[in-house]
């Protein structure tokens, strides 16, 4: 199934910038930014382009794609895998992306409980029998808070020269605005939704009366989320086949939290150590030599921060022999560390065994040897 290059053929007279398919996706993305859904499903996800765009939306925690054609999904599904950055800097949000192979005419419990379901350029590809079942599956069974449906506006076709009948050979129908709106209003009424109409792809000036190139209906559920109990009642057998699943690393997973925290703790301690040593060294140099080529310029924010902390005696870092002692409490007071673990107790628990602590468990120990490079 293909919907994105259908407009390509009509390059002659009308050209959309950005391309119409992108405008449709951007429309969905804007809607996601507005409603902040946590669980989003894209029915007829084809090459997963929309899913790929949506995975960057930080509100989404579950992203599901469904398509009748497995090979099209598989072609670019790896673009939905986590990026190296997702491992390097895990975020607080958890995200799972799943692709299913299946039909929108069938009900599968994995599609329950969604906040938003999008059907971009989908319905015109459905056979009559499938189209008949479609409202019951999407609005009756899945029953998400928001449904977005887009489809070509037949009236616009007059502006697309060289078009035989429909924009794409696989289209079973193309509706004019009245047809789409009456179908949508009827569906909304039946399943207790509110629908609003809009579209993307404006006609050239003077011909606006044909409407948008793509017409869109945004459906918002009028009743609150059904309880989990009601949902489980609805659940039927699984009929979709899972094709792809990616679980993104998240700080909610203790393993990633621990790694990130240990990294942050040690690098914070290293900065404190460096500042401390530079201060000691510059004091030392001032005693011995008046001519120093090198500055003892501290990172301004840090030095101020540390001197402020140092006013509290118990938070002061100190050198003993070849070891710098940095109190955990000092490290904990840095915002990034603080944010990651929340309490000092939790900090202690998470870094236990990962770093060298003083015997009383009060301070982090760092060896000085590293700092010997004089560059």
């Amino acid at each position: 199934m293909d919907k994105n290059f259908q407009e390509e053929q009509f390059r002659g007279m009308i050209k959309f910038t950005p391309p119409l398919s992108n405008q449709r996706y951007q429309f969905v993305k804007d809607l996601v930014e507005k409603y902040k859904p946590k669980k989003v499903a894209d029915l007829g996800c084809a090459d997963c382009k929309l899913l790929w765009m949506l995975k960057f939306c930080s509100c989404i925690e579950l992203l599901v794609g469904l398509d009748i054609c497995e090979s099209v999904m598989k072609e670019k599904m790896h673009k939905l895998s986590p990026l190296p950055v997702d491992y390097l800097q895990p975020t607080e949000r958890s995200l799972t992306v799943t692709l299913y192979h299946g039909s929108v005419a069938h009900e599968d419990p994995c599609m329950l409980g969604f906040d938003m379901v999008t059907c971009i350029e989908l319905i015109e590809h459905l056979e009559e029998s499938e189209l008949k079942k479609f409202p019951e599956v999407v609005f009756g069974f899945m029953a998400p808070s928001i449904v977005v449906i887009s489809t070509p506006n037949f009236e616009f076709n007059t502006l697309l020269p060289g078009l035989m009948l429909f924009r794409h050979p696989d289209h079973k129908f193309e509706w004019n605005r009245a047809q789409f709106q009456s179908w949508a209003l009827e569906t909304a009424r039946h399943y207790n939704y509110l629908v609003e109409f809009t579209g993307v792809g404006r006609a050239p000036s003077g011909m606006e009366n044909v409407g948008f190139c793509t017409q869109i209906g945004v459906f918002v559920r009028k009743y609150p989320q059904t309880s989990g109990f009601a949902q489980s009642e609805k659940s039927s057998e699984t009929v979709y086949k899972m094709v792809f699943k990616a679980v993104y690393p998240s700080l909610k997973d203790e393993k990633y939290l621990q790694n990130t925290l240990v990294g942050e703790v040690i690098s914070t301690a290293q900065i404190i150590k460096r500042c401390l040593l530079e201060r000691l060294m510059s004091e030392h140099e001032e005693c011995n030599h008046s001519t120093t080529e090198r500055k003892a310029q501290l990172q301004p924010c840090f030095s101020k921060y540390i001197s402020k902390l140092a006013t509290e005696k118990s938070l002061e870092s100190f050198v003993n022999g070849n070891v710098v002692y940095v109190p955990l409490k000092t490290i904990f007071s840095f915002p990034k560390v603080n944010q990651l673990c929340g309490t000092l107790e939790r900090l202690r628990k998470l870094i236990a065994g990962q770093v060298t602590l003083s015997s009383d468990g009060y301070a982090l120990m760092l060896s000085i040897e590293y700092e010997n490079e004089e560059n």
């Binding site: 696989d170 240990v262 040897e369």
Partner: protein, 869 residues
């Protein structure tokens, strides 16, 4: 050996010059003037002819008779369309990394029958290769698929074709016009009719265009594509050319490093079999963005040095962006640019970087005053021509910076994880095999194509050639060949040619007064046994400033001065550079810089003094030791390149040539490549002067010239064969009518994925120094061999690959191998065997000194001494 040079000393072809981009233009299309000046790279693939009846997409139908083996020299492209489809699968780069199709062996007469050596004892070896097994009579069938009426969209074309899945089968690879099948269809031309959903009939013609034997280049490319698919199915992450497992990272929080274990792999036709070469690879990632790095650098250097420091540390590094899975090399930093600059998107609209990244990837850019990074895409056919602009805040650093490489502690921490001893390495490589064998989907994919991999690593026999005896002033030294080191054995023995220290300078700062005196005393203790006559140094105390050092040198150096020794209190590069530059160009005398810190430990003071005495002796033209070299009248040449990433991006070739029979004296020159000039022109001039110099020393011309060429990058072999070698021949011809010496050109490669393990009963160990391999893992179209010359204390030893690309010497392979190994003993800065022949290492040292410190050709008065050690 310094690690610093390693990364930069890699080859870059001259035509890949880069220019500065327009400010803020992400994809601004610009003509690159420098590229127009340069001759085209000969390895550019031939233009793909457009089929007359073609429908627009470029594609190539091969109407080659079935029995004729495909032997196109370059640009072995399956098809433009197929590459598009599988670009990511292929690693996203079109360069021919394996130098396929450069068939040099066929031009070398005396190795047509055999290219193997004979001497030495047999050793059982295991290597990191798996044989690719296919069904008997396996072939890949290539079809052309035509549509009538013509269908534009690739996906529609696929959909229509696969309505006939019964005919075609489930296993196929299709790019919209070329179809690969693991089995043959009944007819050479098959016509079928498909129906579009709106009832139109489309006639599809499937024509057999090629029956590819397993070893055909197209097939090899195809295997690699399939294998990359497999690695992806195993959920490994692709970074650059290799695949890594992000789920088991090794974290080194002390240095903010994260190491991902992974694999590097390639499938190629080797001597006897098609094999998968698989090695463990580690990707060093850093949980720090380029902006973080800049911030912390800002705190460490003075303001006015900040930009230079950034350039020095960052340029050449590979970064990984936050928003996609691509890596880029930093080629420049644009300090006038910032994230508020705009660029033109593909659709023509202007947008600022801040807005773009926010909208597209939900990435917040917080520092609006940061500069931007510039990366020049290597791939010409990239959809975005022109330089790529990157935002530091959105780029993660990967790999190690020069400073990190020099940080002994960090490298130690890292090597604990990455330097695997042989057995462990073999186990890790075995894991890849296990992944493949245990994954159902992968097994199915392989079975569908009728392919499989051998379950065990390839084992075969190699040879260990006889160890070399070290000859020093008539005395012959034996040493333990396992350690490949004779520093203990030869300590305190007279040198072949000691140079007196009658008149020498020692410049030091007041703080190092004691250190300087201790050094002199220690030198007095160690030099007599070496045979070095030494008088008291002229001691000069200076302020710790560069100008003070230079003034002292200027005032004190006389024509009689043997050498100037400078005791430096810190490893500040600018001071070192200034001293070296002055003493190599304006006032050419040998010089020795010593870090005070090196001399500070009393327990190593004598060893250090010994080493310094030897080094100084070499720099003044002395000779230390030799090995037996039976070949007469031969001039050995070593060439290596240094690519300067900073100063004007010039490349420098170091060139050294032996001047005597014992290979103890070397003449050197360098070629500094300026814009619009090929490096090889400079090399030609070097060779000419070297021959003249040889004549002066020997009163005749050499009857053989053997060139060891290092610094050749992957995919550059063809340039070398078709461009550089003819220039060498030209040069030899120009010397005189009757002069017709025999020429041998050997390409030396250190960066390999090939590993050898010696099988000792049940255990696997590193093969001993002197192990030669010229079977199984060599390439049939080359006259090539591997030598393991050095010994390593931990980890796996890596062999060096030698590829004889031109040879009229008629020397037996055995002799070339032995000579090569002998030359690995002749590097005077290390009393042991090294990884490459000494001339390569000398050339490397020379190019590195010029590239790092001097930036122009040193005075020729120094050219007969090893002043660059």
């Amino acid at each position: 050996m310094t690690g610093r040079a390693r990364a930069r000393a890699r080859g870059r072809p001259p035509a890949q010059e880069t220019t500065l981009p327009a400010v803020g233009a992400a994809t601004a299309q610009r003509t690159l003037p420098s590229q127009l000046l340069l001759p085209q790279q000969p390895r550019a693939p031939p233009a793909v002819p457009e089929e007359p009846a073609g429908y627009g997409r470029r594609r190539h139908v091969q109407n080659v008779p079935q029995d004729q083996k495909e032997k196109r020299p370059k640009g072995l492209q399956i098809s433009a369309g197929f590459q598009e489809l599988s670009l990511a699968d292929r690693g996203g780069r079109r360069r021919d990394f394996h130098d396929l199709g450069v068939n040099t062996r066929q031009t070398i007469e005396h190795v047509q029958e055999s290219k193997t050596g004979t001497s030495g004892s047999v050793i059982k070896l295991v290597t990191n290769y798996f044989r690719l097994m296919s069904r008997p009579q396996w072939a890949l069938y290539q079809y052309h698929v035509g549509y009538n009426p013509e269908m534009e969209a690739r996906r529609l074309r696929s959909a229509l074709l696969f309505q006939h899945e019964k005919l075609i089968g489930k296993t196929h690879a299709f790019d919209g016009s070329i179809l690969f099948l693991p089995r043959k269809l009944n007819n050479k031309v098959t016509q079928v009719v498909s129906r579009t959903r709106n009832g139109d009939n489309v006639k599809i013609t499937i024509t057999l265009t090629n029956e590819l034997p397993p070893s055909s280049p197209t097939c090899l490319q195809f295997y690699n594509i399939i294998f990359r698919r497999i690695l992806k199915m195993l959920n490994l992450q692709q970074i650059g050319r290799n695949y890594y497992n992000p789920n088991d990272p090794i974290t080194i929080p002390n240095h903010r490093l994260i190491v991902w274990p992974g694999f590097t792999s390639s499938i190629l036709q080797y001597e006897e079999n098609i094999m998968l070469c698989a090695d463990v690879s580690y990707k060093v990632l850093r949980s720090e963005t380029v902006l973080d790095f800049m911030y912390s650098l800002y705190c460490q250097v003075e303001e006015q040095r900040f930009r230079d420091a950034c350039a020095k540390e960052l340029i050449g590094l590979i970064v990984l962006t936050k928003y996609n899975n691509k890596t880029y090399r930093i080629d420049d930093i644009d300090w006038d640019g910032n994230p508020k600059c705009t660029f033109r998107k593909a659709d023509g609209s202007e947008i600022s970087f801040v807005d773009y990244y926010k909208r597209q990837y939900n990435q917040e850019i917080t520092d609006l005053n940061q500069p931007v990074l510039i990366s020049q895409p290597k791939r010409k056919a990239s959809s975005l021509p022109g330089p790529v602009v990157l935002i530091p805040e959105l780029c993660f650093l990967t790999g190690l910076t020069e400073k990190m490489r020099n940080d002994f502690n960090m490298m130690k921490d890292l090597s604990v994880h990455t330097r695997l001893p042989p057995e462990q390495r073999q186990r890790e490589i075995g894991r890849l095999r296990d992944y493949i064998q245990n994954d159902e989907n992968v097994q199915k994919e392989l079975q569908d194509w009728g392919l499989n991999f051998d379950s065990s690593l390839l084992s075969f026999t190699g040879r260990v050639v006889q160890g070399e005896k070290i000859i020093q002033s008539g005395r012959v030294f034996d040493y333990n060949p396992q350690f490949a080191d004779w520093s203990k054995e030869t300590r305190g023995s007279p040198l072949i040619c000691p140079k007196p220290l009658d008149n020498w300078l020692l410049v030091y700062t007041r703080r190092n007064y004691d250190t300087a005196n201790t050094l002199v005393q220690n030198l007095f203790k160690v030099t007599p046994s070496m045979g070095i006559r030494m008088k008291k140094a002229t001691m000069i105390e200076v302020d710790d400033r560069t100008e003070a050092y230079l003034r002292a040198l200027q005032q004190s150096i006389t024509p009689e001065t043997n050498i100037a020794v400078c005791l430096l209190s810190s490893s500040r590069k600018d001071k070192y550079d200034a001293i070296k530059k002055y003493l190599c160009t304006d006032c050419p005398i040998p010089s020795q810089c010593v870090l005070a810190r090196t001399l500070s430990k009393p327990q190593t003071a004598m060893a250090v003094a010994t080493k310094i005495a030897l080094q100084m002796n070499c720099k003044m033209g002395g000779e230390l030791w030799t090995v037996e070299i039976p070949l007469k009248q031969v001039m050995i040449v070593g060439i290596d390149c240094y690519h300067d990433t900073l100063a004007g991006k010039q490349s420098i070739a170091g060139f050294v040539a032996s001047m005597n029979q014992t290979m103890t004296r070397w003449f050197s020159r360098c070629a500094v490549q300026t814009r619009g000039q090929e490096l090889v022109d400079g090399l030609k001039a070097c060779l000419q002067t070297a021959l003249r110099e040889w004549f002066k020393w020997n009163k005749c011309l050499p009857s053989r010239v053997i060139v060891y060429r290092d610094g050749v990058g992957d995919g550059q072999l063809n340039t070398l064969v078709s461009y550089e070698v003819p220039q060498f021949l030209d040069c030899l011809k120009s010397v005189g009518k009757d002069y017709n010496p025999r020429l041998t050109v050997i390409v030396v490669k250190k960066r390999l994925n090939t590993r050898f393990f010696a099988q000792c009963g049940e255990a696997l160990k590193n093969p001993p120094p002197g192990t030669v391999v010229d079977v199984e893992v060599t390439r049939p179209e080359w006259y090539d061999f591997f030598i393991v010359s050095q010994a390593v204390r931990n980890g796996c030893v890596s062999p060096t690959h030698y590829n004889v690309i031109y040879d009229t010497s008629k020397l037996k392979p055995d002799h070339i191998q032995r000579l090569t190994y002998k030359l690995c003993h002749m590097y005077y800065n290390w009393s042991g065997v090294i990884r490459v022949p000494a001339p390569c290492q000398y050339a490397h040292k020379l190019a590195f000194l010029i590239g790092q410190s001097i930036h122009k050709e040193p005075n020729l008065l120094l050219s007969d001494k090893l002043y660059y050690l």
